[in-house]
């Protein structure tokens, strides 16, 4: 082995950064688009709004980012939340059905109340999940499966099995409006991400979440109130899903209890894993998750721009996801590219989950 020069040691430090591989994958995916759409990176101004592929990726990816950010904290405690898709549907259904009952659908007070109602329902769902997991000791995957299945039914009860359409300009703003030339939802996402980062890193919440996920018994023995933390985290996750639900129903001005947020939980879990958070719990990265969600949205966009036939869409997506997960596994890199890219001795925590995700991703993606 040669003595490491400054550049190679810098390169090494860079590749060891926990966001390096997610960002690299994102950049790579974006670049793939250029031969097919030469003006892929250009952003134009029209009618006082910014347009361009990059803007749309963030816009269409907004709900996924929100759900994935909430999911990150749940996964960091060693849990998982399968109910987020159903929570998206319930929130949208409640908000839209409330608005549709109003005489003036554009009245601000009515819209705010509708949103409050929707989010409250979301938080109650989260409380239920947290109660089952933390108090009753039910396995998270089973506990959250209950709302995943029953929640769709609740959403359809609210909408009477119909698709409720509304016509409300203030409500339209959340998921379909513009502010300061940018889609308003980008600001919502930015705010939620900022709040999450502050909440976890400026308080001790992040540390306690990582401790609970990293070693539950040790956490109990140092006096961490892990039940309380778990309930909080499930409530937060549901709140994020609720905001995503408002956004999705606002974007289409309609509440579809059947299809709103369908399978978004799987994309969200995938985004968390691509972002480098271990499915086993412990260390998490909100920034990584945001990038992971953008990777998935970019992939969806790319599939359309490069013209993959519709029938092979999902297979193609699955193949890319597997490749992405393999790229992130230090073990795999070491095997294929030699020791230079692989982490030596000390494997990063992302290694194992990335492997798991690779094997799990394929069947999941086929149904999404």
């Amino acid at each position: 082995m040669t003595t490491p020069s400054t550049t190679s040691s810098r390169w090494r430090a860079l590749t060891r950064h926990h966001l390096f591989w997610p960002v690299a994958v994102l950049v790579l995916l974006l670049l793939v688009n250029v031969p097919f759409t030469p003006d892929f990176f250009s952003i134009k101004m029209a009618d006082g709004h910014l347009y361009g592929s990059l803007v749309s990726i963030v816009l269409f990816g907004s709900p996924l980012i929100l759900v994935a950010v909430g999911m990150t904290l749940v996964i960091a405690t060693g849990g998982i939340d399968l109910s987020v898709g159903a929570v998206v549907a319930i929130t949208g259904a409640l908000a839209c059905s409330y608005i549709s009952d109003q005489s003036d659908q554009s009245a601000l007070s009515g819209v705010l109340l509708a949103m409050g109602l929707g989010l409250l329902a979301a938080v109650v769902c989260g409380l239920w999940n947290g109660f089952l997991v933390a108090r009753m000791g039910i396995q998270p995957i089973i506990a959250t499966l209950i709302i995943m299945v029953a929640g769709r039914g609740v959403a359809q009860l609210i909408t009477d099995g119909q698709i409720i359409t509304i016509n409300s300009s203030p409500y339209k703003l959340i998921g379909g409006g513009y502010w300061l030339t940018l889609p308003f939802s980008i600001f919502v996402v930015a705010a939620v991400v900022a709040v999450t980062v502050v909440l976890t890193r400026r308080t001790a919440l992040g540390l306690l979440v990582e401790a609970v996920g990293g070693n539950a018994e040790a956490s109990r023995l140092v006096g961490i109130r892990s039940r309380r933390i778990k309930i909080m985290v499930y409530m937060f996750c549901a709140l994020c899903a609720g905001i995503a639900g408002l956004m999705i129903s606002s974007n289409t001005s309609a509440a579809d209890g059947n299809n709103a947020g369908l399978w978004i939980e799987l994309d969200a879990i995938l985004a968390v894993v691509i972002g480098g958070t271990s499915l086993l719990g412990g260390r998490f990265s909100v920034g990584g998750t945001v990038i992971g969600a953008l990777v998935i949205q970019t992939l969806t966009t790319t599939i359309y721009t490069i013209g993959v036939p519709t029938q092979t869409n999902l297979v193609f997506k699955a193949a890319v996801v597997i490749a992405v997960c393999l790229m992130q596994s230090p073990k795999f890199r070491a095997k294929v590219f030699g020791a230079r890219f692989g982490a030596k001795g000390s494997t990063t925590p992302a290694a194992a989950p990335a492997d798991t995700a690779a094997t799990e991703a394929a069947p999941k993606m086929e149904v999404s």
């Binding site: 308080t203 001790a204 990582e210 401790a211 990293g214 140092v222 961490i224 109130r225 000390s346």
Partner: protein
């Protein structure tokens, strides 16, 4: 000197971790038919060297020669295929399977894809017989004590003896004796000697110096990741060895012997009345005074840990009550005890103490942060100051608060746990086997710390397997036997280890 050719030669071994050079330019050799001790303090590089040898870590420099051929060992499987077998401190077997299944797991004799159960059992029995062990191979592994499980792990590591592969040339035993009692150790030594006679080279790691002198032929001493020397055991006495390991003259331990225990213990801090838990420990009464060190003596499984866990609320008592500082505490969860000023360092550092993925700093502040709740983070400057202070005071190495705690050596991990509780300034510190599996230098440091904490008025409940250790530190010695606190003896010049042993053996207080 006409020495035989070494079966294993490691030359110029280098291993680096981010920010730490764990091994620099270490040479090591092993001859067939010898038992070779690898000695060194915590963090000296023993475990790292073993992990490099067994393929857990990859090399950053140096060469390994096995039987005169240069080899690259990239994985534990490759090590095994090359004839290097390892048995770790913790038994990595499946307790729910039978002994025979454990021996053959993953390489069961099959015919047409089906396991030949009869043949498997017969061959396992032959193997066990050949090594002079009296074990029923069809019984589940869990029906045997840990010591026998360890022997089974060794049998398993030796291979199936049917000519597959090269057979074991090198057997690595990493602290196999740390939780065994004397008879069990003798059993293990008998097996080691038998294997040695068969020409196997055994690399033995133990913190018990007496054991090294009893069973080993040769030793290699490491310090701070470098080679200090290789010696024949008969040429180096214990004092010389300890000096080599510590890199300084003896005296650390003597100092402790001369240390006077604080004689004026204060008022009652904790009182347990009829506290007990079915299946854990029979109801007991115990009083701990301010500044008092209470040592618990008893065999493994006598209820030492169970007693300590009740006083911390780690297990819920089903009888009796506890009061601390005059106030009754419910002890329904660790939180209750922590709130009353009790701290508990579990004997299971990995499973019940550390969060391995978090940094040294995060692990140290965890208990304090938990008591403050998530909304009140410890201010960064105060946090860094506290962490730096305890890293320095306890001499945690590497002195890097950003290091992941899982990468530290056992002794340093123990110090991290101590630091975690000390910054909460507890009134009662419960230490369950704080010196298990750590080297003599760190042991002395921790014992000295206990003495000075007691002088500062902290009460300590001290559990250790070594009676000398308990005797040296405690004001009062609680003796346990068969999950019962049978005696509480005030320490004094007339109290000796044999006296305590008598009490343990007879279960009676004289």
């Amino acid at each position: 000197m006409a020495e035989p050719r070494p079966v294993l030669e490691m030359t110029g071994i280098v291993k680096e971790f981010p920010g730490v050079r764990a091994l620099s330019d270490v040479d090591f050799r092993l001859f067939p038919g010898e038992i070779h001790a690898l000695m060194g303090e915590n963090g000296a590089g023993k475990s790292t060297l073993i992990k490099v040898l067994t393929g857990v870590y990859s090399l950053d420099g140096g060469t390994i020669t096995l039987d005169g051929r240069s080899v690259r060992i990239a994985s534990p499987l490759q090590a095994q295929q090359a004839g290097i077998s390892t048995v770790y401190q913790e038994v990595n077997l499946c307790p729910n399977l039978s002994v025979a299944e454990n021996i053959f797991i993953g390489r069961e004799p099959t015919r047409l894809g089906r396991i030949q159960w009869k043949q498997l059992r017969r061959r396992a029995a032959e193997l066990v017989d050949r090594l002079g062990l009296d074990i029923d191979v069809s019984a589940p592994l869990s029906s045997y004590p840990l010591a026998v499980q360890q022997l089974v792990a060794i049998v398993r590591s030796l291979g199936t003896g049917d000519g597959e592969g090269p057979g074991t040339k090198v057997l690595v035993l990493d602290e196999p004796t740390s939780s065994l009692d004397r008879d069990e150790v003798l059993q293990l030594f008998a097996l080691m000697r038998r294997l040695k006679d068969e020409g196997v080279a055994i690399l033995f790691v133990s913190h018990f110096l007496d054991q090294i002198y009893e069973v080993c032929d040769r030793m290699t001493v490491l310090r701070n990741g470098t080679l200090v020397g290789e010696h024949m055991v008969r040429d180096l006495d214990q004092v010389g060895l300890v000096q080599l390991m510590l890199g300084k003259a003896m005296g650390q331990l003597d100092e402790l012997h001369e240390h006077q225990l604080r004689s004026d213990v204060g008022e009652t801090l904790l009182r347990a009345d009829g506290l007990g838990r079915t299946g854990g420990i029979a109801p007991f009464d115990l009083e701990i005074k301010k500044g008092e060190v209470i040592g618990l003596a008893g065999l493994l499984g006598s209820g030492r840990t169970e007693l300590a866990r009740l006083l911390f609320g780690a297990d819920q008592p089903d009888a009796g009550k506890v009061s601390i500082g005059g106030k009754q505490v419910s002890m329904s969860a660790p939180n209750d005890a922590i709130g009353a000023g009790v701290a508990f360092c579990s004997e299971n550092r990995k499973s019940e103490g550390l969060v391995p993925d978090l940094t040294v700093r995060e692990n140290i502040i965890l208990a304090l942060q938990a008591s403050r709740g998530w909304t009140r983070p410890i201010p960064v400057s105060q946090r860094d100051e506290l962490v730096a202070k305890y890293i320095k005071a306890l001499d945690i190495r590497p002195a890097n608060p950003e290091a992941r705690v899982g990468q530290l050596s056992g002794g340093n991990q123990q110090k991290v746990l101590l630091a975690r509780w000390l910054i909460t300034q507890p009134k009662l510190l419960i230490l369950d086997e704080p010196t298990r599996g750590i080297d003599i230098g760190a042991k002395a440091e921790i014992q000295k710390l206990v003495v000075s904490l007691s002088e500062d008025g902290m009460s300590v409940l001290y559990i250790a397997a070594e009676l000398e250790e308990v005797l040296r530190l405690s004001h009062t010695i609680g003796v346990l036997r068969d999950r019962r606190l049978v005696a509480q003896i005030a320490n004094g010049p007339e109290i000796t280890t044999s006296r305590i042993l008598e009490t343990i053996a007879s279960g009676e207080h004289q």
